[in-house]
Symmetry: C2
Subunit: 350 residues, 2 copies
C-alpha cells in the first residue's frame, strides 16, 4: 500500500494556498495568500506550523515578496528582499528551518545577481518550489530509514504533530509511521493531546485517521501511566532545532515524555530533516525558546479555564538532552550517540 498524504501548503498560480490548521479537526478550510505579509501572519498565528512546514512557507513567502518588489537595480532589489526575509524570519524564533529556508532564498538571489531582475524572481520561485519538493523527498527518505526501527504490532507514542501537516507532505515522525504501514507493519499510535494548542488531539489524530492509521488520543497526564502498563514500545517525535551535540528543542512536553521513556526503557526517537540541525549551536541551552500568548493557556477556544488575572507562563518548546535520545532519524540516515561525532559526520557527508 502507498500513502499519499494531504497537502498542507502549495504554490498555485503564483499564490500560496494553506490548509488552515487552526480550524482542524472541525473544519478543513484552505486559505490563499497573495503577499508575503499574509504568509508571515499565517506563520505567526499558526495557520501553518511545524518546523519543516514553516520553512517551506517562509520560502514561498520570500518568492511572493520578490514578485512584489518593483525596482530597477539588483542593489535596490536585494535591499527590499532583505526586509521581506527579516519579516518572515522573525515570525517564530525556535525552529531553525525558518532561518535556514530564508537564508537559502537569499543565497539564491545573490547567486543570480548578474541576471535580469525578472529572471532572479523566476529563480526564487523555482528555488522555493525546490525546497518544497526536497522536503517531501526528505520525509520519504526519513520514513524509509526510520521504519526499520518499528516492528509489526508496535504501539508508538508521539507528542504534538510531526506529520504531513507539519511538513510539505508525508511528515517526519508520522512519516516513519506511514512508511512502516506502507511496508505492511500494523502500527497503533498513542497521540498525546499536547496542551496548550492540542496539536496531538486535533492534528495528529485527524491526519492519522484520514490515512487509516489506528490512533488513541490521551491527555498529556496519561502518558506515564500508559508507559508503566507496558503499552508503548517506541516513542517518535519531531524537532524544531537540533544542536550539534544532539540536544533537541521540540514542542513543550517533549522533555517530560523523553524522561518518562528513559525511565521505562522505551526507545525514544527524533525524526527531522537535516535542515533542522543547527551546527552553529553547540548545545540545547543556546536554543531560543518562544514564549507565546497567555491566552493559549487560559482559554480553550472561547472557553476560559482559569480564573481572571491568574498568572500563567507559555513557553512553546523545551529541550530534550541528547542523553535521552536513542537515535535521530534524518534524511541522510539514522545517527546514534555520541551525537557530536555522528551529527558532524552527517553534515560533511554529501
Amino acid at each position: 500500500m502507498s500513502i499519499d498524504t494531504i497537502r498542507t501548503i502549495e504554490w498555485k498560480d503564483d499564490k500560496v494556498v494553506m490548509l488552515d490548521q487552526r480550524q482542524l479537526p472541525l473544519k478543513e478550510v484552505y486559505v490563499t495568500y497573495e503577499d508575503y505579509l499574509g504568509v508571515a501572519q499565517a506563520i505567526k498565528h499558526m495557520v501553518i506550523r511545524g518546523a519543516p512546514a514553516i520553512g517551506v512557507a517562509a520560502a514561498f513567502g520570500v518568492a511572493l515578496g520578490a514578485m512584489g518588489i518593483g525596482v530597477r537595480t539588483f542593489e535596490e532589489f536585494y535591499e527590499k528582499l532583505g526586509i521581506v526575509c527579516r519579516r518572515l524570519a522573525e515570525t517564530r524564533p525556535t525552529a531553525v528551518n525558518l532561518m535556514w529556508a530564508v537564508e537559502r532564498m537569499r543565497a539564491c538571489a545573490l547567486a543570480e545577481q548578474h541576471r535580469p531582475l525578472s529572471e532572479i524572481v523566476a529563480a526564487l520561485k523555482k528555488e522555493a518550489n525546490t525546497i518544497y519538493h526536497e522536503d517531501i523527498e526528505a520525509n520519504r527518505r526519513m520514513g524509509r530509514a526510520g521504519q526499520t526501527l518499528l516492528n509489526d504490532g508496535d504501539n508508538v507514542l508521539t507528542h504534538c504533530n510531526a506529520g504531513a501537516l507539519a511538513t510539505a507532505g508525508f511528515g517526519t515522525a508520522l512519516g516513519v509511521i506511514y512508511a512502516a504501514t506502507e511496508a505492511g507493519k500494523r502500527i497503533h499510535v498513542y497521540a498525546d493531546e499536547t496542551r496548550p494548542r492540542l496539536q496531538g488531539a486535533g492534528l495528529t489524530a485527524w491526519e492519522l485517521q484520514k490515512h487509516g492509521i489506528q490512533v488513541t488520543v490521551i491527555t498529556d497526564t496519561m502518558c506515564a501511566s500508559v508507559m508503566k502498563q507496558g503499552k508503548i514500545q517506541k516513542v517518535i517525535v519531531g524537532a524544531d532545532r537540533i544542536a550539534a551535540n544532539g540536544d533537541t528543542a521540540n514542542k513543550i512536553g517533549t522533555y517530560g515524555v523523553a524522561l518518562m521513556a528513559h525511565y521505562h526503557k522505551i526507545p525514544f526517537y527524533v525524526a527531522a530533516p537535516m535542515s533542522t540541525i543547527d551546527p552553529k549551536i553547540t548545545d540545547g541551552s543556546q536554543i531560543p525558546i518562544e514564549e507565546r500568548d497567555a491566552r493559549e493557556v487560559t482559554h480553550i477556544g472561547q472557553h476560559r479555564i482559569t480564573p481572571e488575572h491568574v498568572e500563567v507562563i507559555n513557553p512553546a518548546f523545551d529541550v530534550t538532552p541528547a542523553a535521552f535520545i536513542t537515535a535521530i532519524i534524518t534524511d541522510r540516515g539514522i545517527v546514534k550517540a555520541p551525537f557530536t561525532e555522528s551529527i558532524a559526520a552527517l553534515i560533511t557527508q554529501k
Copy 2:
C-alpha cells in the same frame, strides 16, 4: 495571619449545600440537595470531588437517606439504609474515603440499633456532622505538621486540586501551603492545569487566588521543563487511596509528576488524612482505577478538540509507587520509608 477557607459542603436545615465545582472558576454557585439520590448524582458528576470531600458528602447523603426511610422496625430500616449506602458507595470507585465514610455511618446505625428509629436518625445526622468537623480538624493538623517541610520562599508544585475544595475545608496538600502561609512563610505555587478536568487551572488557581496565595498555572506539559530550570523546590499532592506499602492512587498525571520530581531530586510529598489509607490493600496494583466518560477528553466545555469517532481512554487516576514518595503527611504526623512499617505504626497509634 489566619486563613479561613471557603466552604465546599455544609449541612444546613436538614439539607446539604454544595458549591458546584463544575461551574468554577467562572461562577460561584451553591446547590441544595434534599435527598440522597441527588447527593449520589452530585458525587458521580463531580459537583463535588476530592477524596475527603466526597467522603463527607457520602456521610451527609446517608443521613439524608436515613431521614427519608419511613418504616417501623430496625431490620427494615437497616435494609433500606443498605440500599442508600450502596448507592452512595458505588458512585466512584477509587477514593477509599467514600467507602470509609459509608461504613462508618452504617456502623453508627448498628451501634444505636436498640434505640427508637428517630434517635438513630438523629445519631446518623450527628455522626455525619462529626465526620465533617473531623475532616477540617484533620486538615488543620496535617497543615501544622506538613508546613514544617516548607521553607520561606519555596516554589511548590501541585497537581489537580487537593485544597479546601477537595475537603470539608482547609485542604490536604493546599492545607499544608495555607499553614505555611499562616506561619509567615512566603510560598509561590505552580499549579498543573491537570487535564482532562482541569482542576488545577480551575479550582486550585481559584482557591489560592481567593486566599491570597501567589499562583502560576502551567499546562501539564510544562512541568518537566520548569523542574529542570530549578524553579520548583517541593511537590505536594493529595491522594485518593494509599495502600499499606505507601503506593498512592491520585489524579491521573501524578505518577508522571512524581517520576519527574524523582529525576530532578525534588522532594515529593503526599498529604492525606488517615481515612485515605486502605490497609486492606497491600500495594497499588490492587487499587481500582475509575474510567470516566470519553467526552472529558474529546471536549473542553462545549468545544470539541478531537476529530469525531477517534478512540480515547480516560483513566481518572494513576498509582505512584512508594519509592517516589519522600514522605506522607497525615493528621497523625509525617511518615517516611519504609512505609509498610511506618504506616502500620500510624494505624495502631491512637
